[in-house]
Symmetry: C2
Subunit: 212 residues, 2 copies
């Protein structure tokens, strides 16, 4: 155990569409001390979707009340439905000592970092733009024009990488997961204010010796 | 490969005597991309010690000339002999893309960080002061008084931990090595100025597409 305190950390994993951030996040969840954040949405549940597991399903009024209260780390409206990350649920898991991963787009990541500055931003990059194109083409669902638009959007998102703490090139998925896990482990080894609690514990131990 | 540039990094591993930093460093050297820095000394070579492998053996004049030229990351005089870390040899390995580990005491670590601010400081801690005492006692070579002096010195050194980047509690040696390796991997994933070279490469790729 390397933690001076047992608080979890919030890791925000984002990057352009097609870089495989979802697959990396799935790989991380094998670790029982890592939990994924659950989004709140105003869209209707699909068959099999469970409230509190896949999403928190709420009404538009409830969602807007949560926005007004500052209760969301980030949110966006997509095709008339709200999607967002409730802060309280994340903080609760962190207090339980779990790390929380939040997989969102670049805009959402930057919003969340502003609201929760202790979060750690990780940008997932493709090995090359050619490879990103190949992955999107491989899905076989998009026109050439749509693919070019996606690539332009990806480049625009990459221009925000300076605001991130870390980047991971997703060349081989297992390596990318290992690198992300290393980042999470290293972040718990950072010297921060809480280290003084640990050092104080050592000092108390010494006093016990000296006064024996 | 996750590096925007192929330059190595200098990791300075230190902490009180008895915390096992030497064993951690030995464990790290299984990785061919990690090299240990070689010290310069004025003491005479012992049987089997090879110049340029175990130490750089130099005269007192040569050592003092290197000090005067600012050629050492840190140095100290112990029982009338100089010991120090030559900067040029470290920089050469970093330029070859190797990570370099430097195992030194707390004073030397802080000196080296001042001279080479890009270095990463890692503090090795024992799981408890009691365990540190047990490890020193286990060597069976020291009086009770000498052991108490060592523990006081250890506590004094720990008071500098705020100036370090990371700490690793050496409870189980393999875990401590794994945490140190994670720190080294994560440091290569930090977003720094060199990330812009990687993003520029993506931009150039896009221009190739657009002008096809």
């Amino acid at each position: 155990m390397n933690t001076a305190s047992h608080k979890g950390k919030l890791f925000i994993i984002s990057g352009p569409s097609g870089t495989g951030k979802g697959t990396i996040c799935k790989g991380l969840l094998d670790n029982p001390n890592i939990r994924v954040s659950i989004s709140m949405t105003t869209r209707s549940p699909r068959v099999g979707e469970v409230h509190g597991k896949h999403y928190y399903f709420v009404t538009r009024d409830e969602f807007e009340k949560t926005i007004a209260e500052g209760g969301l780390l980030e949110y966006a409206e997509v095709f008339g439905n709200y999607y967002g990350t409730p802060k309280a649920a994340v903080v609760e898991k962190l207090d339980q000592g779990k790390d929380v991963i939040l997989e969102i787009d670049v805009q959402g990541a930057l919003d969340a970092k502003r609201i929760y500055p202790d979060s750690v931003l990780i940008f997932i990059l493709p090995p090359s733009l050619e490879e990103l194109r190949a992955r999107i083409e491989g899905r076989g669902t998009e026109t050439e024009e749509a693919i070019n638009l996606r690539l332009s959007k990806a480049l625009k998102e990459m221009s925000y990488i300076d605001e991130y703490d870390y980047y991971v090139v997703n060349d081989i998925i297992d390596d990318a997961i290992a690198r992300t896990e290393a980042i999470m482990m290293a972040e718990h080894a950072r010297v921060s204010e809480s280290i003084n609690d640990l050092i104080d514990k050592f000092r108390e131990e010494e006093q016990c010796y000296t006064h024996q």
